[in-house]
């Protein structure tokens, strides 16, 4: 009898069928991988489980008993816990306060702290219980999430794309923890991820969704990355980087010529000290480093969200006044920021508006016909799946929102394109497509800066790899000569 059994779960949004009679069995003591292309219905399925969404049909069985969670609180009572990437920690509160949030009974700080300490030890998740969550890095926050969730002793633990902001090492740690949780404590884990390598390494069984339907089920050992990719997107995927594999043959660098299209000099901001970097037209430069070493800050500066304390940014040889909103965009810099919900999209506005919001024209009046046409073209070109272009962006799946941002930024034909974690949340098909596109862009003379924590991606795409550590550029390697080991050394602050 499975820890969690779903039978015929169906959910429709208007004409879209997000989940179409989904059956899923998750056993105790296993890590179950849930895969699917963008918009396949994974998140919707989990939201239904948690009581954040109502289902149109189907039954949910916990240990064989039919159950329905009407709210996250009821889900907890049913032994279903979820680790969210966003929104579930209260930043101004401390770690221990966050962890005990949702419990009952008297508050005992020392007991809570001790408990956190004990769990940290047991699962290998070091955190300071007295720290304020706002001061923690993404990886640390995730540990807090995990502790908080595990403390409630869930029989079924769900993780939706948990590794997207983690470094390789952090991801490895996470899987080790999950392994322990499953083996020694007999829990069941559902792991949603687009990183196929992770899935094959970490899970026991996999289920693949496509268009809301289960299309494939297998023991992980009996399948492989290529098979899974094919099942997900319904075709062969050849791009090794997209599959999360380090390419066997190093990438042949394109010839980068001319003056740098992007030149950053002495950039200093909170978390950054004297960053110098250049990207020439026609090259893809990778900026690799572990989470929390300043990539996010570079992204923020290039987004115009943070004005640096010192340093200059030149686009096409012309210095840009970073205090003017949109100056970078005007100068010809396109950017796909890491946290798209924060700066890249307006979730409550329509898909069409989000696709065209940087290209409103110069006249007082909006040319709405032109904008619509443009939006339709872009949506088609980048394969954005939406009920309608007038639907709010928030109704799109995570991956499709990412596609909207990509489409918009590339549509401006920028001189320089900066992408931070661009494939985060994209399915392998879309990732492959993106990689292809980036190569083409570079070939056509665009300067591309790829900021990533994923070694495969950087090695698979970049001509040149810059390594960032503790807010400084720690070294530079040619892709042809770079190996994961070398990069790892630089990341660790080793020899330059």
């Amino acid at each position: 009898m499975g820890a969690l059994t779903l039978r015929g779960i169906t959910k429709r949004y208007g004409t879209v069928v997000a989940c179409d009679a989904v059956d899923l069995d998750v056993e105790r003591g296993e890590i179950h991988g849930l895969l699917g292309e963008n918009g396949a219905g994974k998140s919707t399925l989990m939201r239904i489980l948690l009581g954040l969404e109502t289902r149109d049909a189907g039954t949910i069985l916990r240990d064989g008993r039919p159950v329905t969670a009407g709210s996250p609180r009821e889900a907890v009572a049913l032994g279903i816990g979820m680790v969210h990437q966003h929104f579930s920690l209260v930043e101004p509160l401390t770690v221990w306060e966050n962890v005990i949030l949702g419990d009952t009974g008297r508050i005992r700080r020392s007991r809570a702290c001790a408990e956190i300490h004990e769990m940290s030890q047991r699962y290998g998740l070091p955190v300071d219980p007295l720290a304020t969550v706002a001061s923690l890095s993404a990886g640390e926050r995730q540990r807090v999430e995990l502790i908080k969730c595990l403390r409630r002793d869930p029989a079924v633990l769900i993780l939706d794309e948990p590794t997207s902001v983690l470094t390789r090492a952090e991801s490895a740690e996470l899987f080790a923890v999950l392994r322990r949780v499953v083996r020694s404590e007999g829990r069941a884990v559902v792991l949603i991820s687009h990183k196929l390598a992770e899935i094959t390494a970490a899970t026991d069984r996999v289920t693949v969704l496509r268009h809301g339907r289960v299309v494939f089920r297998s023991a992980t050992a009996a399948t492989d990355v290529a098979e899974l990719a094919r099942q997900m997107v319904g075709r062969e995927v050849a791009d090794a980087a997209a599959l999360g594999l380090i390419p066997a043959a190093p990438h042949v660098p394109e010839k980068a010529q001319g003056d740098p299209a992007l030149r950053i000099r002495g950039l200093t901001a909170p978390g950054l000290t004297g960053i110098d970097l250049e990207v020439r037209p026609g090259e893809i430069a990778g900026l690799y480093g572990a989470e929390g070493n300043g990539q996010a800050q570079i992204g923020d500066v290039l987004c115009g969200l943070v004005t640096p304390d010192a340093g200059t940014v030149e686009v096409g040889g012309v210095p840009v006044d970073l205090r003017t909103p949109g100056a970078l965009h005007t100068a010809g810099l396109g950017i796909v920021p890491e946290d798209r919900h924060r700066a890249a999209v307006v979730p409550a506005m329509s898909v069409a508006a989000n696709l065209t919001m940087k290209d409103l024209g110069t006249r007082v009046w909006l040319d709405r016909r032109r904008l619509r046409r443009r939006a339709r073209e872009l949506a088609a070109e980048f394969g954005v799946v939406a009920t309608s272009l007038d639907a709010p962006l928030s109704s799109l799946s995570g991956g499709n929102q990412q596609r909207v941002v990509l489409a918009r930024e590339l549509s401006g034909d920028p001189r320089v394109l900066v992408l931070a974690q661009p494939t985060q949340g994209l399915d392998v098909g879309a990732a492959e497509d993106l990689h292809e596109r980036l190569r083409r862009c570079a070939h056509d003379g665009m300067a591309v800066l790829l900021i990533s924590t994923e070694i495969e991606e950087v090695l698979g795409l970049a001509d040149r790899v810059l390594v960032i550590a503790s807010g400084r550029v720690a070294g530079e390697l040619h892709a042809a000569e770079a190996t994961p080991e070398q990069l790892g050394m630089l990341v660790g602050g080793g020899a330059g």
């Binding site: 609180r73 929104f87 920690l89 509160l93 306060e97 005990i100 419990d103 008297r106």
Partner: protein, 284 residues
């Protein structure tokens, strides 16, 4: 008269003017920490002032009157909570309508009744320290308060954690209503001894200003109340002490002070992030 006596007069007067504000401010503070910018605090105080006098008059007991005031305030808090955090009507709409409604109702109801005046009862003042401490303890130390703070900072996260956001906010408004009610009842039964139309005369808004002045910290909020009380006491006592100042300026003083405090310290104050924002469960 010597200076010390004058000082004593002003200080005791400012204490009496501060007390109703302080009671209500404890409530408003708590409601705001839970995320409701509650402008119906005026309605709570006025409604409570009315019912406390009515009940005290009918029963002859000031204590019963005070209790009635507390209940009335809580009732208004309950109504506000249900309209704003169950029916999800915009909280400002609810507040504005409730203020108009209670002003109308109390004005209407006194038409039919005369309550006369009774000697003031100052003893409820003794409750103030306890209530301040209790409010502080509730917000900062109790589990309920932890959940309130979570709800006021990040309702979505609180919801995911299994906290009933709407319920907590309604409870906060209930507490706010009870304390604002106590403030209003104290004003009517404790200080004045009678009720007259619109007798709270904007004290509710002053209470909101005090919470802002205090930068969403209880201690400073109470300091704000005291400053406003002192400003009023000075305004009312200065003519008797032989000093005249522009009366409009003095009436505007508390608001100007609150603005000034914000201009000076706002960047250091952090308001609850979800303050005034309704919560409806939706997309993650």
């Amino acid at each position: 008269m010597n200076l010390l006596d004058d000082l004593g007069t002003v200080l005791s007067s400012s204490l009496r003017l501060t007390a109703p504000l302080a009671f209500a401010a404890c409530g408003e503070y708590l409601a705001e920490r839970a995320g409701t910018l509650n402008i119906s605090v005026e309605a709570m105080m006025l409604g409570a002032a009315f019912s406390s006098v009515a009940v005290a008059g009918a029963t002859g007991s000031a204590t019963t009157g005070l209790a009635a005031g507390v209940l009335t305030g809580a009732l208004i808090g309950l109504i506000h909570g249900n309209l704003a955090h169950r029916l999800t009507i915009n909280t400002f709409v609810v507040g504005l309508v409730l203020n108009a409604l209670v002003l109308g109702l109390t004005s209407f109801l006194i038409a039919g009744a005369t309550f006369g005046s009774r000697p003031p009862q100052r003893w409820p003042l003794l409750l103030l320290p306890g209530i301040v401490l209790l409010t502080w303890w509730l917000v900062e130390r109790s589990r309920w308060g932890l959940e309130l703070r979570a709800v006021g900072e990040n309702p979505r996260a609180a919801d995911m954690t299994g906290i009933r956001v709407g319920l907590r906010r309604r409870q906060a408004l209930l507490w706010c209503g009870a304390l604002a009610g106590l403030g209003g009842a104290y004003l009517a039964v404790g200080e004045v001894g009678s009720f007259n139309q619109n007798m709270t005369a904007g004290r509710g808004y002053l209470v909101i200003a005090a919470v802002i002045f205090g930068g969403w910290r209880l201690g400073r909020t109470l300091v704000g109340c005291a400053v406003f009380g002192l400003a009023d006491a000075l305004r009312l006592a200065l003519p008797a002490l032989g000093v005249t100042l522009n009366s409009q300026l003095l009436i505007a003083a508390p608001y100007l002070l609150a603005l000034l405090a914000m201009v000076l310290f706002a960047t250091r104050h952090r308001r609850p992030r979800a303050l005034g924002k309704p919560f409806v469960r939706q997309e993650p």
